[in-house]
Structures are given as C-alpha cells and as structure tokens.
C-alpha cells in the first residue's frame, strides 16, 4: 500500500459529472437556507441548468476510462446511460411547471433530492464495483421513495411504502448475492469476479447460479421483472405522473446497465441455465404484463403494465447479448424515453384535482371518452403516443422494436422473436383501448376545461417536443444507432 498517490491517477474528470450534480444539490439546499420562498420555477430551471451543464461535460467523454482506484468506470455504456438519464431528467423536471401548484414543487428539497437521485443513478451505471453500485442504487432509491411520498396523497404514501419495503428486501438480496460472489472469488468488482470465475470454469456451479439468482431478484426488482413487478402499477398509480414517467425510464436504464455488466459475462460464457432462465423471465414478464394490462381500467396503471412489458422486451437484449442487441437496447430505450415522456406528460396535463370520473382512479379510460370531439389535437397527440408505444410503424418505438427483434433473429432466437411480436400484437389492444375511448366514444364532459386545468406552456412545449421526436423518429434512428453502436462497441459489449 503506497503512501503516495498521484492526483492524476485518480482521474478526477471521471467523477466530474456526479460532482456537478452533487454541487448543484447542495447549492439548492443552501439557497433555500438563505432565501426563503423562492418560486419553483427558479429551482426547476436551476436544476435543469445543472443537468445541462453536466451533460455538456459528459459529451466530451469518449472511451473507457477508470478512476479513483478503479471504482469509477466511465466506459461507453456508462456514458450512454448517463446521457439518457440526464436527458430524461432534464425533460421530466420541468414538468413541475404545471398550471396547478403542487406542494412538493415548492420545496427546495424536492429538487435537491432529485439531483441526488440522479447522482445515485450515475454512480450505479459508472462503476463495476458492487459496493459503489449498491450505494448508488440505495442513494437513488431512497431519494426516489421520498420524492414519491412528497406528492402528499394517501396513495403516494402507500406507493412509497410498498416500493420501499420491497426495495429493502431487494437490497437484502443484492447484499447476499454480493456476498456469494465475494466468497466465490474474493472480489467485489465485476470484472475481477468474471476473471476469477472464468479461471475456475464457474465451479462450484450451484453457488454461482445461486449468486446469480439473488442478483436477478435484486435487479429484477428494479427492472420490474416478474414476479418482482408487483410494485410497479401501484407505485405508478400513487405517484405523480411526471415521477411515474421518470420511473419508467431512468431507474430501469440504470438497472439495465448493471444487468448488462453483470449478466453479459455469464451469458457470454455459455451458461445455458442462465440463458434459459432469462428466456423464461423475458417471456413471462412480457406476456404476463401484457395480459394484465388488457384488463386495466386506469390509463396510468395500464402504462405501468405496459412499461413492465417494455422492460421485459428490452431485457431480451441482455439475453441475446450481441452488440446489435445491446445497441438495440439503448436505441429502444432512447426512443421509448421520448414516447413515455410524451405519454406521461399528457396524463399530467389532463390531470384534474378531483376524481371526476371514478372514485379511485385519476385517469380511468372513461375520462378520455370522446376526447377527440373536445380537443382534437390533444387526443391525436395522445393517440400518437399510444400507437408509438404499441410499436406501430413508423412511430418511435417501432424502430427500437424492429432493431431488437432483428437482433433476436440474427442470433437465432427465432422463437423469441415470434413471442416478441405476438406480444406486440396483444399489447396493441390495450393501447388501442384508449384510442377507442378517445376517438370512437361519445364525450362525457361538456367542455374541454376539465382537461386543461394543469396545462401550461412548459408542459405543452415538452409534449410538443416529444411528439415531434416520436413522429419523426425514423430520421433520428440512424444517428442514434451510430452513436449507440460506437459506444457499445467501445465498452466491449
């Protein structure tokens, strides 16, 4: 153990993206201490600016570099996923600038926690050290639980508690899994674990598999893989629409990156068992979520199941494990991000403080009945998002689906591809259900006013942006694909 550590060997820039946001969060808290009653718009914009700044720093990176005694790993997928996380955050935070005022958005802590959450995710994706991943995960999760609860409705509390409790169990699994791998290999770094396991040809196998099982359970919880998915609909329903939308994107991409780092080595080493298990999980997750989504009465819950299904769909990329599949994962998620951003923003826009349509649900399908007659543009845009989520060409998610299915086909997973498309066909029904309500039924409300109480210019701009991206996705696929493929190859997946 050397007493002398050179500063340059630390590779401080690798930590810069996180540092900026930590600074930002602290800065916000300090401002709150100094100046009371600052408007939410101030914090919102400030947060967005920090994120943009961060993004600016991040974009300069290209290529794998390690720092801080190898605890920080900035490789291609780390950069990519950080970009996704930051962009998603930059779009979801301004949703606080809705027409109505919500308590949580008036609190500086909300923004600070949000930024801390981002930091947590960033650490999660840019490290291959299980300790850092774990702490990053927990930082992000704890912030997220709090943010959910801050929505300050009974349902939000219920959601937060359910999420939290299951999260605690998942944390236990993560810890146990880490223990098993540590005991097997004496290391807590994924690449070392990989090396040692390979050297020993994955013996004893049952222990390796047991560790994998617990890791699947822990990450599966984040990725809402069946049967650890049960929290998803409840949490989405309980939290505010922006946060639900955020949850459908960011924690999952972080989870995917970890899963990618962790399972790729096992998949690559021909552990057929894992392949089968992942296969089963992918299929069950897609199918079960789709089937359950069919019978939902609330749009937000439906979207929750849909996002489970999408996650299952994307999980197949890890199963397939080729470069194309991994690139497809990111492509899919980027496109999915914009679409879901739009969909949840729309829900946020049409939010009404009273549940006028249903005692329990905020956004029952009947609420959207005949919307096209009252607000044709809104209904059309919502319809576009729905069809995009359904994988209807030529809207955004279709291209992701296309690329992923292609990856499956190319690697010989024909049956998987068939199951994937069949699931898309099933999924169409529930997306279409909303379309049917919006376009084919008679309106329930007399005026469009009830749909607009929360609409503000900011929200409209964001939705408009999401719409444009969703509609013209075909033009972005090529550049995104190029970048994504480059980074994925860079990090060796």
């Amino acid at each position: 153990m050397s007493d002398f550590i050179s500063l340059s060997s630390l590779n401080i820039p690798s930590l810069l993206p996180m540092a900026i946001l930590v600074f930002g969060a602290l800065f916000i808290i300090c401002i709150d201490l100094a100046v009371k009653n600052l408007n939410r718009s101030f914090y919102t914009i400030l947060s967005v600016l920090f994120i943009v700044l961060d993004l600016g720093v991040l974009i300069g990176y290209n290529g794998a570099s390690r720092g801080f005694f190898d605890t920080v790993l900035v490789d291609g997928i780390a950069i990519l996923s950080q970009c996704i996380i930051l962009i998603a955050s930059a779009f979801f935070i301004p949703l606080s600038l809705s027409n109505r005022h919500f308590k949580e958005y008036e609190m500086a802590e909300y923004y600070a926690l949000f930024l801390f959450m981002i930091v947590g995710f960033q650490f999660m994706v840019s490290s291959d050290n299980l300790i850092v991943i774990f702490i990053g995960l927990e930082t992000a999760s704890l912030s997220l639980y709090t943010l959910i609860a801050l929505h300050n409705r009974a349902k939000a509390f219920e959601a937060a508690i359910k999420y939290f409790t299951m999260g605690a169990l998942a944390a236990g699994f993560f810890a146990l899994s880490s223990l098993i791998f540590y005991a097997l290999t004496g290391s807590v770094e994924i690449n070392t674990i990989e090396a040692v396991l390979k050297e020993r040809e994955f013996q004893p196998l049952s222990a390796v598999l047991a560790g994998t099982v617990f890791m699947i359970a822990a990450l599966g919880f984040k990725l809402s893989v069946v049967p650890s998915h049960t929290w998803t609909p409840d949490v989405y329903e309980g939290s505010s629409a922006p946060l639900a939308g955020y949850m459908s994107i960011v924690p999952k991409i972080a989870g995917f990156v970890v899963a990618m780092r962790f399972f790729e080595m096992l998949i690559a080493s021909d552990i057929i068992w894992l392949e089968y298990i992942l296969y089963g999980l992918v299929v069950i997750t897609m199918t079960l979520a789709n089937i359950t989504a069919l019978v939902q009465e609330d749009v937000k819950r439906m979207l929750a199941f849909s996002s489970i299904s999408h996650a299952g769909f994307v999980l197949s990329a890890i199963l397939i494990g080729t470069t194309q599949a991994n690139a497809g994962l990111f492509l899919y998620w980027i496109l999915f991000m914009f679409t879901n951003l739009g969909a949840f923003s729309m829900l946020w826009i049409v939010r009404h403080k009273n549940n006028l349509w249903d005692e329990r649900y905020q956004h029952p399908f009947s609420k959207f009945s005949g919307m096209v007659k009252l607000m044709p543009t809104t209904a059309t845009i919502m319809g576009v998002f729905m069809f995009a989520l359904a994988g209807m060409p030529p809207f955004s998610v279709f291209w992701g689906k296309l690329y992923l299915i292609s990856a499956a086909v190319n690697s010989g997973f024909i049956y998987l591809a068939v199951i994937m498309v069949v699931n898309s066909a099933i999924a169409v029904y529930y997306y279409m259900k909303l379309m049917i309500y919006m376009f084919l039924k008679e309106p329930v409300a007399n005026t469009s006013a009830v749909y607009e109480t929360n609409a503000s210019t900011t929200l409209k701009v964001i939705v408009g942006f999401a719409t444009v991206v969703t509609l013209s996705a075909v033009l972005f696929v090529e550049p995104i694909l190029n970048i994504v493929t480059k980074f994925v190859i860079l990090s060796g997946f």
Partner: protein
Amino acid sequence: MEKYLYIALFAPLVGSLFVALFASRPKMLFTGILASAFIGISMIASFVLLFHVYNHEPLHVEMMDWISAGNIDIPFGFIVDEVSVIMMVTVTLVSTVVHVYSIGYMDHDKSFNRFFTYLSAFVFSMLILVMSDNFVGLFIGWEGVGLCSWMLIGFWYHKHSASWAANEAFIMNRIADLGMLMGLFLIYWNVGSLQYSDVFEAVKTLNPALVGTIGVLLFIGAMGKSAQFPLHTWLADAMEGPTPVSALIHAATMVTAGVYLVIRCGEIYTIIPQVGFGIACLGAFVAVFAASMALVNNDLKRIIAYSTLSQLGYMFVAGGLGAYWIALFHLMTHAFFKSLLFLGAGNVMHAMHDELNIKKMGGLYGSMKATAILMSVASVALAGIYPFAGFFSKDKILEVAFNEGAYFLWFALFIGAGLTAFYSFRLVMLVFFGEKKYGHELHPHEAQPFVIYALMPLGLLAAISGFFEHSFREFTTRLLSDYGVHLEHHIEVILIASTLGIAISGIAFAIYMYGKRGGFSACWEKSFGYKVLSNQYYIPKLYEMVIIKPFGVASEFMWKKIDVKIVDFTVDLIARVLYASGEKSRKMQSGNLSDMLRWMIVGIVILLALAIFYRPMV
C-alpha cells in the same frame, strides 16, 4: 362490305342505347319504331351480306384486340361466313318482326321503352354470338343473350314468378356456361388460341380423347342455352316473360344458340362421332320427352315452349349425327314457324286478357281469323306436313337418323313427330275451335292490322321456306361438311310417307278428340300418367327438393353454424381467453404488500430450486 358487317352488328346496339335514354320514361311510341327501324337496318345489312357471301366469299374482320395476357390473345373479330350469315338473317328477320309486333303487343305496357332497350340489346348479343370468329367472342354473346333473357323474362319484375323464372334461367345457364368455360380453357391450353380457324386446324392433330372432352364440355354449354335435359326446366318457366320475348328468344334465336355451337364446332364433332352420337341420343330423348309434356299441358305458351324443346332435340339429333346443314336448316325453319306460333299465341293472350289456360278458350276463330290462320299454318309447319317448311327440315332429320342406322333414334323421332302433330293441333283446336269456354265479359278481338301484317312474312316463310332446301344445302355446305342421305329411293319414300302418315294421324286424332269428342275423359286426367306428364315428370319438384332447398339449408348451416359458431367463435375465443387470463393474472396484483413480498420470495425459491436441481448441459 365490312361496312355492312358493322351496320348489321351495331345497329341494334345503337338502337338499344338510344332507347335506353328513355328507358325510365313513360311510353313513347317512337322508341319502338326507332328500335324496329334499327333492327330493320340490321336485317337489310344482313341480307346484303347474305348475297355477298353467296356470290363472293366470306368476310372476316378484326375490329380490335380485347384480351391479351400471357399467351392469350383474343380479338374482337367477326366472321361472316355461310353459317353465321344464315344465323344473322334468321335472327334479324325474326327480330324485326318481333320488334314491329311488340309495338302493338306492348302498347299498354308502362315500361314500353325499356322493353325495346332490352329487346334490341338482345339482338345485338345474339349477333355477336353468331358473328364472332372465336370462342370467347361467342361466349360474350352467349352470356349477353343470357343477360337479356334474364332481363326480359323478368321484365314484369313485380311478378314473383317472373323474377323467379328469370333467375332460374340465368342460373341454369350459368351452370352450363361453366362447362363451356372449361371447354374453352381446355381448348386454349391445348391449342394456344381460341380462334375458330386455329382451333379447327389444331384439333385434327390432338388426341381424340382430349377432343372428346372438349366436345363434351362445349356441349354442356350448349345444353344450358338450348335447354336440353336435365337443364330444361327453365325454358317452360321462362314463359313468364312477355310473349314477343318468348317468340324471339325462347323459340327462334337464343335457345338455338346451342345448336349453332354444335354446328359451328362441326369440325370438332366430326372427329369424335361417339360424342356426336351421344348428343343425338340426348336430342332424341328430349324430342320425345318434351313432346310428351306438351301433350297434356294446358298453358298456351308452355305447350309451345315444350314444342320448342322438342324441336331443339331434333336439331341436336341432326347436329350430333353430323348432318350440320340439316340442323341449321331446321333451325332456320323452326325459327320462322315457331316464332309465328308464339306471336300468334300473343295475339290470343291479348284477346283473352292474358288468360293462358287453353281449356278456358275455344271458338276464337270467329273473332280472330287472321291469327287463327297464321297459327294453323305454323302448326302445320311444325307438324311437318308437306309442303310447309317443317316437312323439309324435320323429315330430313328422320332420314338422317335412319341413314345412320340408329333406328331407335329414328323411332323416337318418329313417335315425336306424331306427338308434335297431336299437341299442335290440340292447341289449335282448343283455342280456335270448339265451344267458347271463356266468360261473357270477354270480347276477344283481333290484334291491330299492322301486327298482323308484320306476321305475314313469317307466315309466308313458314309456308315456303322449305323449298329453299337445295340452295340452302349448296350454300351452307361450302363451309359445313356435307351430309347426304344415301338411302334407297323406296326406303326414302316409305320413310317420308310414314312420317307424314303419323303426323297426319296425329293431327287427325287431335281434331277428332278435341273437335268432335270435346277432349279426353276426366278419368284420364286423374290417371298417373297424366299427372306425371302435367307435373313435368316431377323434375322441377325434384330440383326444388334435391338442389334448391338443400342449398338453402346448407348455406344457412354454413353461415350460422360454421362461420359464426366455429370460425368466428374460434377467433373470438382467442381474444376472450387472453382477456380472461388477464382477469386471472390481475388477482396476482392483490395490492397487499405481504403478498407482493411473497411473490418476490416465490420467485427466488423457484429460481433457487432450478439453480440447484435443474442443470441443462452447460
């Protein structure tokens, strides 16, 4: 000369289209006159063509291409040769008469204009049929006359029976058309062309069995149009149409299209005498079969219809036995006297206010002398009494049958001749002679003079056209293979005498029975034989029971049971199963935190168990 060809062909079309402009208007006299004039023009052109062909050579034009795809190349080509020109003349001549006649006959009909539209359209189709130089062109006309027949039978569409009969006619024809179409395909794929000239050239080299199939298939087409057994039922029902229609379509022209086809394809049928013989047998059968039905029927028009059927049988015997020119000759003479018979019947109907039951007529001779004479002439011609037209043509057919050694055919035709004579005069007697059986409120009157004048040419032709036999033979056999009867003279004489004898005895019997005795006894009408005959051998009932009803039931079954209950149900079942499994899987989402945690642990337990106990090959 092409000019005349086109005039002959398109004048009816022009007339039809022009009249069509007024189709939905109330009656306008000029439409009838105009249509008749156009047909008249066509007739004149046809005669010009006849002389041209007679003196020079056949005419062949190709107007334009029609269908061409792959190797198929079908033009609109028309040929005016010996056969088609005879057909043209016959068709246009009868048509002109019928048109003029219709002006009088349809006088009170509110759809006067429409009638002429259809009628002229029919003539056009018929001309296409006979003038085409290829099979598909023939098929155009074939279907075209079918369409016009449908429209005209169902002309009084408000009558259920009329529209039913129209549909029946169309559909039955379609059945036969399918056979014909198959024949065309077979020809096409074996020959590579559907032009008559190419086909007749090529069949000589083809496998005879194949040619036989072609012959049979084409004849199936002919059977439908010419209402041969078993596709004959439509013809009697077709009498629902206006009488001029029956005269033109269902006596003179359309129904003879089948015969025309056989004649036209003579070159095919000469290769396959077996098939020809089969045709002849069927023809002979129909000749007797239809005549027997005519014996007891009381419906004025149906009797004539059965008579037509019977005569078509004669023609097929001739055609089948290779005596094409004789068939064609009989076709022509038959056209004259049969249309005359029908048109006369139309006059009677008019006089009787659309009463059709001949049992309710009688003694009309007093009020309708001209009609009575014309119909009698026609009946005599039909019965085949010298020197009327029927004698020459029909007798020839009997000779042909005898000549071929098919004595049973001859015998059938011989019996048929007697029956024909009997029912013809049964009709004449019951309608025109005997006592009046109609009510006193009826005051039968003769048709307008111009109608009678219009019938005169037909009467004349019915009487004398037989004398053209030799020139006819000389003319048509330029194209058709000649058929000479080579019987010893005395046998020929005996044959003629016996035929004449049975015809005359038939007539005499009819006159005796209905003139003197006042008809058969009532117990005959209760006998089984009578019932069978008057119910047309129960064939329509059979069709109804065996085909129409089961088809309806089967269709209903297909729809209600198979389509809705099985096919569609399966599709819906998939959706319902998915939805139901959604409801099931929804229970997993109980909302209870403890359950949620347990699910996670269940997952772990299952995966761990798999990890420990399940080892696919690594």
